[in-house]
Amino acid sequence: MPANKSASVDLSDAAANRQDCDFVRFGPDKPLQLDCGKTLQPLTLAYKTYGALNAEKSNAVLVCHALTGDQYAAGTHPVTGKPGWWPLMIGPGLPIDTDRYFVICANVIGGCMGSTGPLSIDPETGRNFGIDFPVITMRDMVRAQAMLLDHLGIERLLCVTGGSMGGMQALQWVASYPERVFASMPIATAARHTSQNIAFHEVGRQAVIADRDWMGGRYMDKNKRPEKGLAVARMAAHVTYLSDEALHQKFGRNLQNRDALAYGFDADFQVESYLRHQGSTFVERFDANSYLYLTKAMDYFDLAADYDGVLANAFAGTKTRFCVISFTSDWLFPTGENREIVHALNAVAADVSFVELETAGGHDSFLLDVPELFDTVRGFLSSSARMRGIGDTVKAGRQA
């Protein structure tokens, strides 16, 4: 485990030289045009694939990760040594069945697990971009993913899916490349980031920036990292991913390693200890500047704004099938926000399913063991596959 500081500082080298995922590098002949007006070139995308692409190249499912996720959706995560972020969803015989579908998951641009981001070398200066990295948007992320699909020779996705920020990409895909998406399954997301969510993100960013080790965003030059600030940002954000009920069930007011209150500022309560742990493990695997850029990209997301303020216009004439999923306990991306998407899709007579699932887990429910979620995903994907003429048969001889 790269727990010591020097290993953490080398996150960029580690990310750029990973052996456990695939890379595609686009040279100066294929610059990525960004919404902010700048271009990114050269451009690297780090990605994982699971399963096999069929001869017709019709069984590709693009899985988009959330804010602090990465390309390691299934299998073992190389940094944490733990399972990837969607272990119950992706695999042989699982709802996103790798015996049947070719699953692609790419680290978003601006990320810190191998795709071009603030830790990458700026060709103009020869040093890390740091805070000189251009501000990116959801559209930019999706544009980069489309370049990856071109590289893989996949014209049309069977499905694009993801939760939270991944759901935003699943929506942006349909708006940007309607012909390339047969089905889209946005989960626990919204067509725009709400004021409250922007506010939470700003708290996190200011925590990072207030850390003196952030050093104006150039901490990597001084071999430092704003770990305290990033940990606080993660702690605050983590609370928004859960729910009152989930926290109560898990911790209540239980004390941590003590029988009585300590009358001090140690972690008296289990929930305090838990959050501190969440903060300290997060900084081992995530770059602070990436956190700033990716939260900003989510804050900028407002799909309707690109279409005269009318969300339905983003989907006008769409042939894509949709399945929108929300969770009762999610107060960060509540059902109402998801339902807005459904109403816009109804307004253009799109083929849409929508289900609100009852959970206690809060926003993180999409990552948890929710059998109804698995049934829904499996059902929607299989029916989409049937419509595209992809067989039900599972290849023999492959077990988890």
Binding site: R321, C323, V342, H343, N346, A347, V348, A349, D351, V352, S353, F354, V355, E356, L357, E358, E372, D375, T376, R378, G379, F380, S382, S383, R386
Partner: protein, 204 residues
Amino acid sequence: MTRARASRIDHQIIAEIVEPGSRVLDVGCGDGALLALLAAQRDVAGRGIEISRAGVNECVAGGLSVVQGDADSDLVNYPDRSFDYVVLSQTIQATRRPRHVLGELLRIGHNAIVSLPNFGHWRARLGIALKGRMPVTRTLPNAWYDTPNIHLCTISDFVHLCEEMNVTIIRKLALNARGERINLDRKARLANLFGEQAVFLLKR
């Protein structure tokens, strides 16, 4: 499941009415039985709206395109004439604003198909007349205090509403307790007495 058995008859009739290959929206689609039937028998591109979470889960897991929503409030989002048929099967009596809902069906669909339990059936009448109690029958199986059916009507009541709203009734037929059809044009009064349920094909 008496309700499922009773409603299967009207599902069959609706499947006969719907033209093959048409676009159908089933409002209050339950577990998706009618949508599945229409897809299998009539090659229909079906969509559904269902209020119960369990119903929607079952539909979507089964590959049907169904949205969790409320007939009273969520039809407003659908554009005019976006479906060939909008079906309201055994649901109008459970809506808060049946008149509004009926108007919405005819705005969204070129045609509407409405099936309803008949509160004018002799068993219901007898229940009130002789026992002085709200009827509990096969098509209306719930006690008054926990029935979802807040706007029950008779076949005649519904025909009257259609006239009032200038809605054209293209086809109408009643079904007796054995599922046999009673011609509503020629035997309207008889149908209102012996029809356990009725199916209407409407247009505006």
